[in-house]
Symmetry: C2
Subunit: 492 residues, 2 copies
């Protein structure tokens, strides 16, 4: 069949790239490093957005919109942030094209339309937002500010991969301002919890909540929290970050407020974000050699109904029944597709909807109609069962719940299997190369050791888990004392 994928075992990376394209999720565009998110892929992203947006609003945030461009002088105000992003920024220098006098029908940049100050296409919006917050904040009465933005950002990456790393990507970025450090830290952790909740309950993706080491911190943050997920090839993927910014941006942009006692002080900040990278995580965590496996809570189509027919009369009868089932399911909030195309055979349709990850497939033929039955296939386990036609609509919600739970449990079991406690550098290297996954190891806490391990093995500290228990040990690399294990892995 034309749609066949390479297997994960053969070539995991190729399997991923082909799956993304063949399942109509995304493709490369004519712009270096930028992707086109295709309608089917975008409809999954929309489901993610809706769920996250509701969670943000339920925790008191409102959406707003800030400019795409950051004037260079604002961009450089918070020095560490500027340094961190300077090397991968798209820069607007001109505001007009003109016809090429040498070349009819072609355009050139008009040298007379050079900007006085260059504009950076936002790689992240702290600078433009904090320069705005300065105008919004005078007193403690103006705080907290709890704002989120859904936007596109640009980071000029040299090596790009669909969804995982692209020059332009879509994301949300929350930016909050508070009167105290405590309140800002609570916000940072609250949003980390929101992300973990979303990953586990919608994406069916178990995640480790933790803090980044100094070397992996967001440029300009005091502390970076993250959720880390495990992919099927044993590589980790950072699925979301939440930053405690301290007073760094408030100081860089002079954002002060008068407290209840009339005293002036700098505002405390946070920022937090997840992006279309989550699409990559979703795909890589659950899919198999036949295609996508979507958790029902993020599936744009929950149930596909494929009629098996030879004649128009057979199709007509099945159609009536299919409409009835669809209506009953839609009333319960599920999206149903009736694939009545007469240009393709059932086998082709089965493969296509498997490729696209639809959680449940119903097949109805003339014999089913006579017997009052329907064949129900679940995408996650490939199991099939026969249900009564007049019970199927009421049984599917529980089946979808079970699929959601099964996908999560499978990912969690896999993660346990590839999480290893290692106690020496030799063991570390052996496990990393032979098995991959998360390596829980003692580390002396220094950037030097972290850098040396990264240099020698390509593994990085994914996080210091929030629930890491106190445990005396020695650093696998330096032999110096350590009080808790951290998680290492090779990562996307």
């Amino acid at each position: 069949m034309a749609k066949e994928l390479p297997t994960r075992k053969e070539d995991y990376s190729l399997w991923y790239n082909e799956l993304v394209k063949k399942a109509d999720l995304a493709e490369h565009s004519d712009v270096r490093g930028c992707m086109v998110i295709k309608p089917y892929g975008y409809s999954i992203w929309e489901k993610m957005q809706q769920a996250l947006d509701k969670m943000f609003k339920d925790t008191g945030h409102m959406n707003a919109y800030f400019p795409l461009f950051v004037p260079k002088s604002l961009f450089e105000a918070e020095e560490k942030n500027a340094e961190g992003f300077a090397k991968e920024c798209a820069i607007v220098t001109h505001y007009r094209l003109k016809t090429d006098p040498q070349n009819k029908g072609k355009l050139i940049v008009d040298p007379e339309a050079e900007l006085e100050e260059e504009l950076v296409v936002r790689p992240t919006s702290e600078a433009i937002i904090w320069s705005t917050y300065k105008k919004w904040i005078q007193s403690y009465r103006d705080l907290p500010i709890l704002v989120n933005q859904w936007a596109n950002v640009v980071r000029w990456e040299m090596r790009t991969r669909l969804f995982l790393r692209t020059a332009e990507f879509l994301w949300q970025e929350g930016h909050t301002a508070h009167t105290t450090a405590d309140e800002a830290v609570r916000e940072t952790v609250q949003m980390l919890d929101v992300y973990a909740d979303f990953a586990e309950n919608f994406m069916a993706l178990p995640v480790v909540k933790g803090r980044k080491s100094e070397g992996e911190r967001f440029p300009g943050a005091v502390d970076t929290y993250c959720i880390e997920a495990m992919m099927q090839d044993g590589k980790a993927l950072q699925a979301g970050t939440s930053h405690f910014l301290g007073q760094n941006f408030a100081k860089a942009f002079d954002v002060q407020f008068t407290n209840k006692e009339g005293k002036l002080g700098y505002v405390w900040g946070t920022s937090w974000g997840v992006s279309t990278r989550l699409m990559g995580a979703l795909i890589m965590a659950h899919s198999d050699d036949d295609g996508l496996v979507l958790p029902p809570k993020l599936a744009p189509i929950h149930v596909v109904i494929v009629p098996i027919f030879r004649t128009d009369e057979e199709l007509a009868k099945i159609s009536d029944k299919a409409q009835e089932i669809s209506a009953a399911l839609r009333k319960q909030g599920f999206a149903v597709k009736f694939d009545n195309r007469d240009t393709h055979k059932p086998g082709f349709k089965f493969a296509e909807w498997e490729l696209k990850g639809v959680p449940v497939r119903l097949a109805i033929g003339p014999r089913d109609m006579e017997a009052g039955t329907v064949e129900v296939a679940r995408r996650d386990t490939k199991e099939k069962q026969v249900m009564k036609l007049d019970e199927v609509a009421e049984k599917i919600p529980a089946l979808l719940d079970d699929i959601q739970a099964t996908i999560y449990a499978r990912a969690k079991t896999f993660r346990s299997e590839v999480t290893t406690e290692v106690n020496s550098y030799e063991e570390f290297r052996k496990v990393l190369d032979e098995k991959g996954g998360f390596l829980a190891a003692h580390w002396d806490g220094t950037p030097e050791t972290e850098a040396a391990i990264k240099e020698e093995t390509k593994a990085t500290i994914r996080c210091i888990p929030l629930d890491a228990k106190e445990e005396a040990g020695v650093c696998i690399y330096s032999g110096k004392p350590s009080t808790r294990r951290v998680l290492f892995a090779r990562a996307y």
Copy 2:
């Protein structure tokens, strides 16, 4: 009071600018011509998006996402489109900043990171989308393509106004591809109808559906349809456009398909869009000297409850009742705000929620509690009435419907009053200067006459109404024969 606005009569333009800022809708940013859409303003835009998005999906469209950047060589492929936007494009020429060797802590554009080909920040996405459609379309089986995108675009405008004309704005752009001209024209008209439906039924804004004259056509379109609305100062505002693109973009990007008979031909296209400009239309059409007047269907808050109290005990009793009413209204799908701040007096709160356009205000004091009543004020007419406390939740839905209808009727009456049939150029100029509004006049159909009238009076042809009746007449400017009246106006 601090929030007081200039009146519309004093200075309509200043009234608008101040209203946008004081009602927390939007403000100027530190980036030339770019605005910040503040949370309250954005929440109205979100209501617009939700309603429109549902209408697009109900008519068979799906969302997708295409790159922000357009390589110059693609941008210039459709010559008229390129010409039309070349003079107002932001151009990315470099992809990196570096530290300024002359100036510690400052950044400069790295001259070694110049792009081989400049990138245009999309002013509209026909070019990048049709270069993608070329890959998606081989046969009639791949058609129609019915795709929409929610995105930011940049047009480097020299004179900007919040929402109405900004360098960056948010919009949706539909881009469809079809096998026949007929089908594409039907799509163009269908989406015009969707826009008119949205304007009238959600924005409470009566619009005229029509076609643009050649001079006002979208660059690259064969035909441009539009909806035109009338603002309170007698100026028109184009609220949405839908373009029949013919085969122009298909030819520019070589997008051909094989039809059922195996014959190759170019694809037919449409594009259609509305933007955050609709926010400007909404504000200017309905608001008054006390602030915003929002149609309930787009109001982020439908009902505000203001307690009148002296003691904590009084507040506690009123709060209980307010929670009860809120719960009953929320159950019916309405958004309720209970403004229990003890830092502001009721009078201040009344003015603030009037400024923000909340359709219904409930005021409850201790005497109301005793009498079992509540004072209900509607924002549109400023009328107050007393309702029984235990009936208010069930009466409010009808009240909100009435407000929606009243706002629409008022706008429609106003538009009728400022729409004038004129039969000579002298009458045209007199009415235009003294009364403004829409002028229905005969026109000879030539770009020369259109240009001369624009030059002399600043009035443009807003549209040739779809429902214009055939009527023999003579052009008010040239005296040449004409068969129908067109609508002139000065416009935003």
